[in-house]
């Protein structure tokens, strides 16, 4: 994995962020894209904007690398799946490559109304499906963590903190923090910074291997 991410070797890193309209998927995607550019990579993203944003399933594709590709990640190509919601994470699993990484927010958002044909939503069952199929997945209630930091709305930024802390991103957490300073409006900045840093602390506690084997090359 280390070699794959080194710039000189045609680095390519595909990240998919999945969630529900209103969870801040687009902002998280923009922050990752800006961080990638700061780290010297080219980037291309695809976002869900429009009708589906109204409480529907949304996802952002972020393609980072040396050369530009179409903005949609092909099936089985994503290196990292950041799932802001359990069922949306499972929905996007076919994009994740074999051996790809997942960070999932365990906080579930039940659909607005259950049309008669919709299956029951059992978040616990879906989380355990994820755990069975993706060894080493990182699962935490990031919404609670963000709420404790000041607002549940900062769960997206908290998850970026967690991703950076576990070395799942091809750039350092300092780069994302710098992006946070410029991208988040001043009145929300402190709470987002707190959520970001709380997430890093929490991950340190639960994941022993910080700076260990999962760490990807961030010396860019």
């Amino acid at each position: 994995m280390k070699g794959e991410l080194r710039k000189s070797e045609g680095m390519k890193y595909d990240i998919l962020i999945a969630g529900v309209g209103g969870q801040g998927v687009v902002l998280a995607s923009r922050m990752l894209a800006l961080a990638a550019m700061k780290a010297g990579f080219r980037v291309s993203t695809a976002e869900t904007i429009g009708m589906s944003q109204r409480e529907g399933s949304v996802s952002s594709h972020i393609r980072i690398g040396e050369e530009i590709s179409g903005s949609l990640i092909p099936a089985g190509k994503a290196d990292l799946l950041i799932g802001l919601e359990p069922s949306e994470t499972v929905r996007n699993l076919p994009f994740l490559k074999k051996g790809g990484k997942i960070i999932v927010n365990s906080h579930s958002i039940p659909p607005a109304s259950k049309p008669p044909e919709s299956p029951e939503y059992d978040p616990a069952a879906l989380l355990s499906f994820l755990k069975t199929h993706v060894p080493g997945l990182l699962c935490l209630d990031f919404t609670q963590l963000a709420e404790d930091a000041g607002t549940y709305r900062a769960a997206n930024v908290a998850m970026l903190g967690a991703a950076a802390a576990t070395g799942m991103l091809p750039f350092s957490k300092e780069i994302i923090l710098a992006v946070l300073e410029t991208e988040i409006p001043e009145k929300h900045r402190t709470v987002n910074r707190t959520a970001f840093e709380e997430a890093i602390e929490k991950i340190k506690l639960i994941s022993g291997h910080l700076n260990g084997e999962q760490k990807v090359n961030s010396n860019v």
């Binding site: 099936a75 929905r91 659909p111 607005a112 049309p115 993706v134």
Partner: protein
């Protein structure tokens, strides 16, 4: 000094236009085109660019045309269906031509993600004899915007910059000429009286040959442009344009020696000369394009004209899907189908996912829905109740016609309040037609505030003029909500944030001649039901303007909560309203209200046991 910026395709187009010296920008919001005009508006003051949200796309194009007649550089932005509205002026404008320059940004939506149709603007360009440029990335969008202005000026024709969702709504690193856009040269020649500006049968007859000859000139010019490029030297040719070309490049990775790729950035008029030189030595040709088989038809025609021995694989012989959005995986499958047909042993393999789609457990359906606290929900529910009462009292059924906007989502379970929806402004006229053929049924037409100004007014006039007994329900949430809260003529604010005269919808309707026009706030359900019923019982066309505020722009109130003591678990709130703030936790029998509650209180007004109350928690 160039600089790299992260830009959405639409932002890149705006910066390209500013750099090209655009002076007048008009448009009507429509996904996925909206951000282009919004971006120009952000720089408008600093750069001295006149920018407006027009009342509809036809008005926008005509306004831009007037500016271009005076020598100004103009840009008009719209989504693909907006071009249908603007097609009347556009079809004539091609004969008249322009003096300054006029570029139309038209955003197509393969999928579709947020549209009524999957129409292909490349084909529209062909129909209207207008050059069409088709970028694949935000960077290309930026560059082709500048090219569009140059071409429009040089050839004195309007030029279409056609994007798709994956270009307009894709973000990428774009190398722009300057870190911040500079002020635009403000002057233009001004209008000079000349018979060329007045369309007339004789003028049209004179101009038509010019317009047809222009196609050949443009095709010649396009053949020499770097935006049409050939790569590779394989035996099998591939022609592609827009974002599909990127899917092709990724799909054939590792198999490049088999193919020669011809990427076309200037799709109409088809660059025949460049295509002919690409076709030299090619006997098998694959055409990869989303939506219509535009390139395929062009190339088939060329092959026929030049008597070339080339077999073409595309949509027309079933090798590629005729509809929907493409992606790398679809392109791999289709190319493999061609390879197998050609008896070639290679097969491009897909990446292997952690979990196959077929292996996924059943997942909850999560369709888009009206926001928590949306005033439309209250109005739909009020009409549902009013219609129920009407049926009980008089056995009269009701048909509900909807329109385009967030309130199209009133079609979803459990509201089910949209029986017809066609295009902008159509609900009112369709209700009129339904009245002619179902006179015993009550006709209600819902229309949003921005849609009312866009194209609802002629339909209201027609209902009065021809005596259609319909009830018009205007959903006035004080914004163009679906596209991201743009102002409209009823707000009193322009695209630049300047103050303007707010046009009162109820007064417009009254002046159209309706005798029943009432206005009601949406905060109290009971008043909404009462007024809805009164309007439905009125003999002759009637209208109610429902006034509320889109939750996207309103200050949130106090959250509501369900008192578990008094809640009987009847589920009425969930089954009736479908509000995304109320849900039943798995295995529980009492619903809960989530933190996205915006405090509209509709649920508290319908709860049969009075168990829903203000929580005191500010959102």
């Amino acid at each position: 000094m160039t600089e790299k910026k992260l830009l959405m395709g639409n932002e890149a187009i705006a910066l390209g236009a500013i750099e090209a010296g655009v002076q007048v920008v008009t448009g009507y919001p429509g996904t996925p085109s909206t951000e282009a005009l919004e971006t120009v508006a952000r720089y408008a003051d600093r750069c001295g660019i006149y920018t407006e949200w027009s009342s509809n796309e036809k008005v926008a194009l005509e306004t831009a045309a007037g500016a271009a007649y005076s020598g100004a550089k103009s840009l008009v932005t719209m989504k693909q269906v907006g071009l249908n509205v603007a097609s009347d002026p556009l079809m004539s404008l091609t004969y008249i031509g322009v003096k300054g320059s006029l570029v139309l940004l038209v955003a197509d939506d393969p999928g579709p993600h947020s549209s009524q149709t999957e129409q292909d603007t490349r084909v529209f360009g062909h129909f209207a004899n207008i050059p069409v440029l088709d970028p694949a990335t935000p960077q290309e969008a930026y560059e082709l915007t500048k090219l569009a202005f140059d071409l429009s000026h040089e050839f004195e024709v309007p030029v279409i910059l056609r994007t798709t969702t994956r270009v307009s709504h894709s973000c990428g690193d774009v190398e722009v000429a300057a870190p911040e856009p500079a002020a635009v040269e403000a002057s233009c020649e001004g209008f000079t009286k000349d018979r060329r500006w007045t369309i007339f049968p004789r003028l049209t007859a004179e101009r038509h040959p010019w317009l047809e000859n222009l196609q050949a000139q443009l095709s010649e010019r396009f053949s020499g442009l770097p935006y049409n490029s050939i790569s590779g030297s394989g035996k099998i040719g591939i022609i592609s344009s827009g974002v599909s070309a990127l899917y092709v490049k990724e799909a054939i990775k590792g198999f490049e020696e088999l193919f020669t790729l011809f990427r076309i950035g200037t799709v109409h008029p088809f660059p025949e000369k460049a295509a002919l030189s690409f076709l030299k030595g090619i006997e098998k040709l694959i055409v990869v394009e989303e939506l219509d088989p535009y390139l395929e038809e062009q190339v088939l025609q060329l092959i026929g004209k030049a008597h070339l021995p080339v077999d073409v694989y595309g949509k027309k012989n079933g090798f590629f899907p005729v509809s929907g959005e493409y992606n790398v995986d679809i392109v791999i499958d289709c190319i493999n189908r061609v390879l197998s047909d050609l008896g070639i042993n290679s097969c491009i393999s897909h990446a292997s996912p952690a979990v196959l789609r077929e292996e996924l457990p059943p997942l909850p359906v999560r369709a888009p829905t009206l926001c928590a606290g949306c005033m439309h929900r209250t109005v739909f529910y009020a009409f549902k109740q009013a219609a129920k009462q009407l049926k009980k009292d008089t056995q009269v059924e009701t048909i509900f016609s909807g329109d385009i906007g967030c309130y199209t989502l009133g079609n979803a379970y459990p509201l089910n309040m949209v029986d017809t929806c066609l295009c902008m402004g159509a609900g009112v006229s369709i209700a009129g037609g339904l009245f002619r053929t179902n006179p015993e049924v009550k006709q209600v037409a819902f229309i949003g505030d921005s849609t009312f100004f866009h194209s609802g007014i002629p339909a209201v006039i027609n209902a009065v003029y021809n005596g259609a007994d319909i009830t018009l329900a205007v959903l006035d949430n004080r914004t163009t909500a679906m596209t991201g809260q743009q102002p409209h003529p009823g707000i009193g604010v322009t695209a630049l944030g300047n103050h303007s005269k707010a046009i009162d919808i109820a007064s417009v309707i009254r002046s159209c001649g309706l005798d029943f026009v009432k206005t009601v706030e949406t905060g109290r359900l009971a008043s909404c039901v009462e007024v809805a019923k009164e309007a439905m019982e009125f003999k002759g066309p009637s209208a109610v303007v429902f006034k509320g505020k889109c939750v996207g722009i309103a200050k949130s109130g106090t959250r509501f909560a369900i008192d578990s003591e008094s809640c009987t678990g009847c589920g009425f709130c969930i089954k009736q309203l479908g509000c995304p703030a109320i849900f039943l936790p798995a295995g529980e029998d009492r619903p809960l209200i989530q933190d996205n509650c915006s405090g509209c209180g509709l649920c508290a007004q319908v709860c049969p046991s009075g168990a829903i109350r203000e929580s005191g928690v500010k959102k």
